[in-house]
């Protein structure tokens, strides 16, 4: 599927191309240092287990960033007006996760689309759900 460049090219029901982002320990650790968001539960499996997690977990702000990057790969020219995420379960570092999205509403006058967003963990549980409002140019 080619990238969306114009509002006219999308409609309710469209799926964003699914992605499986890299949440390996080196990538998550690099993100945490770049974001100045370094906590052991994100970068150390054993430390996370001591806190009660199954393993180190992907930071919420990284999940949100990954979803935002998926939106921009789908529609490179759009502006994200709002992105709202609900963290329902942990996403584990060094696991396979899948991101999806879909267009759920459109405002033809304002050129705004509403999106559903989700990240599904390796065991099939939906770890993150959310929505976004994105603006397209005239």
């Amino acid at each position: 599927m080619s990238a969306i460049t114009k509002f006219e090219d999308l409609e309710i029901g469209d799926d964003l191309p699914g992605e499986s982002p890299d949440v390996s320990m080196p990538r998550v650790t690099a993100f945490c240092h770049a974001a100045k968001h370094v906590f052991e539960r994100f970068i150390d499996h054993e430390a996370a287990q001591r806190e009660g997690f199954a393993a180190a977990i992907v930071p919420g702000i990284m999940s949100q960033g990954l979803l935002a990057s998926m939106i921009h790969r789908w529609a490179p020219g759009c502006e994200i007006l709002e992105i709202d995420t609900v963290f329902r379960g942990s996403l584990l570092v060094d696991s396979d996760i899948t991101m999806t999205g879909a267009v759920t509403d459109t405002d033809d006058d304002a050129l705004i689309a509403e999106l559903d967003l989700a990240i599904v963990a390796e065991d099939g549980r939906t770890g993150v759900i959310g929505t976004a409002r994105v603006q397209f140019e005239q």
């Binding site: 609900v86 509403d105 509403e114 929505t131």
Partner: protein
């Protein structure tokens, strides 16, 4: 077999002679819901989902105020309101919430005794049934392992759109073993997940909550999965 002796029925077929309802959805009225009700309607229409309606089961509350009759007319859908409450045996859907039930139960209590929910629902003419019973911690059957069977349960949600592999299988197997009837619901919290699971009511017209409660007590229904990848 079900409690009334008839076989458990879980189908994936569809015909024009039945109502198909998603009995478990959440809107922005729930703290973790992000779906606008109108967007559910638009999605169902755009995707041509084989649904005749859906029930909003908001967490720990009953939304008495919202009026969706205009959307019902515009989209030709039955939109009903119920609740999902939290008990010491996991989450329970309550259909037919009324003033009597609201007076009898504190819907915000996250440790309601399940027997109280079942008894008071019955007294008030409502219908209560555990949802996602195969799920750890918040599912009925996880508690059965530790604390035994609850008397008064006769129906559970055997197909839940948010289940991970193994959870619905456990729900189906346990429901079959215990003679419970089974229904389905998507448990959608965002628009694009409505209709993942639903319930078929053969030869019945269900256009309001009174009719739904009557149908649930009647027991002539079956759970259906419409998750992407499932055949229908």
């Amino acid at each position: 077999m079900t409690a009334n002796g008839s076989p458990c029925r879980y189908s994936v077929s569809i015909d024009s002679n039945k109502m198909r309802l998603d009995l478990h959805t959440h809107s922005i009225k729930s703290d973790d819901g992000r779906a606008k009700v109108e967007n559910y309607c638009k999605w169902i229409a755009k995707k041509e989902l084989p649904l005749d309606g859906f029930v909003l089961t908001e967490h720990r509350q009953f939304d008495a105020d919202s009026d969706y009759r205009q959307l019902e007319d515009e989209y030709g859908l039955a939109i009903m309101k119920a609740s999902e409450v939290e008990t010491d045996y996991g989450h329970v859907l309550v259909f037919g919430v009324n003033d009597d039930l609201l007076a009898a139960i504190d819907f915000t209590n996250v440790r309601l005794p399940i027997e109280t929910v079942l008894d008071e629902s019955r007294k008030a003419g409502a219908f209560a049934a555990p949802c996602h019973p195969g799920r750890k911690r918040v599912g009925l059957f996880a508690h059965y392992e530790e604390r035994g069977v609850v008397q008064g349960v006769d129906t559970v949600e055997v197909l839940n759109g948010g289940s991970i592999p193994g959870e619905d299988e456990l729900s189906l197997a346990m429901a079959d073993r215990l003679g419970y009837r089974g229904f389905g619901g998507s448990d959608s919290h965002v628009v694009s997940r409505i209709g993942f699971c639903a319930t078929d009511f053969p030869n019945q017209q269900i256009v309001d909550m009174e009719a739904l409660v009557h149908a649930l007590y009647g027991g002539n229904f079956s759970a259906v999965s419409m998750r992407p990848g499932d055949s229908d």
